[in-house]
Symmetry: C2
Subunit: 180 residues, 2 copies
Amino acid sequence: MITIDEFNAAKIKAAKMIKESGILLTDQEAERIDVADFGLSNLNREGIQIMTHLATNRISVKILVLFPNQTEPEHWHPPVDNDPGKEEIIRAISGNLRFYIPGDNNMSEGFIPQGKEHAYTMKNEVILQPGDQLTLPPGTKHWFQAGEEGAVMYSYSTCVRDGFDKFTDSEIVRATEIKY
Amino acid sequence: MITIDEFNAAKIKAAKMIKESGILLTDQEAERIDVADFGLSNLNREGIQIMTHLATNRISVKILVLFPNQTEPEHWHPPVDNDPGKEEIIRAISGNLRFYIPGDNNMSEGFIPQGKEHAYTMKNEVILQPGDQLTLPPGTKHWFQAGEEGAVMYSYSTCVRDGFDKFTDSEIVRATEIKY
């Protein structure tokens, strides 16, 4: 749960970071930025800000914003009906960004949020510089984190079905509850 | 056919327009910009410049650049095997841009290239301002054109199979021939 004041402040901060990255963002789009705390009630530690440019039954384009040292919890996109699962390509635009995917443990720049070792199992670190792209095939377990500058990235994908995403952390609730 | 000098000059001009629009473009990506004259040998009249960020079997992201008053010829994306045809969403980023799609003839800002009336049959004009998005369902006949400033836009789509695109102009050859 986050308060409406936290929610609004996060939207404003994310919009500023998107504009500073050079990405075109209209005022109407800035209003539509979504904020996710994954039900963990500690947005700046584990959470993300999302601007959805489009989402059809076949493709989706989002801008994702991580605040400094903010972490998106580990999750994966499972098959849904005839869909083999979401294929996602990340394109880093600004700031510093690390992804964690299947492979050898080579973590050096990032950190697992304190006390959450059980919820972060992927430790193969991929550093993305602005202009770098990373493909996440369907079902790939992943989490990601910004460094001191925060990070702005595109997420290009097949059909988004957030409600079907699987998270390693059993305490996660995907829908953000806002306290007014 | 275009000469290698025309091809290289168009790449450089397109890269400059992309960067001025605020879109991140790496030097490697600038090198990979493609130039299409559709076999009509009059690039500045009918042609387009394309930077493909990604193209998988499921999704594709491109930047499209039109020079001032340049026109992309009328075409559509037919079904291919089990695919109902490419679904495409255009997002205007900079400059001035007009699309022509099925509907009533309301052309006022654009023009059909001289002597090519037979090759441009869609006359429902949609003006796209920066930040505007237009969805083209599979099979939608369309052409588009920049105004005096040229135009930079994103094309987000399902799988790209350019070789299967259908053009109204029977003289069109999709692959650009370059004269060295």
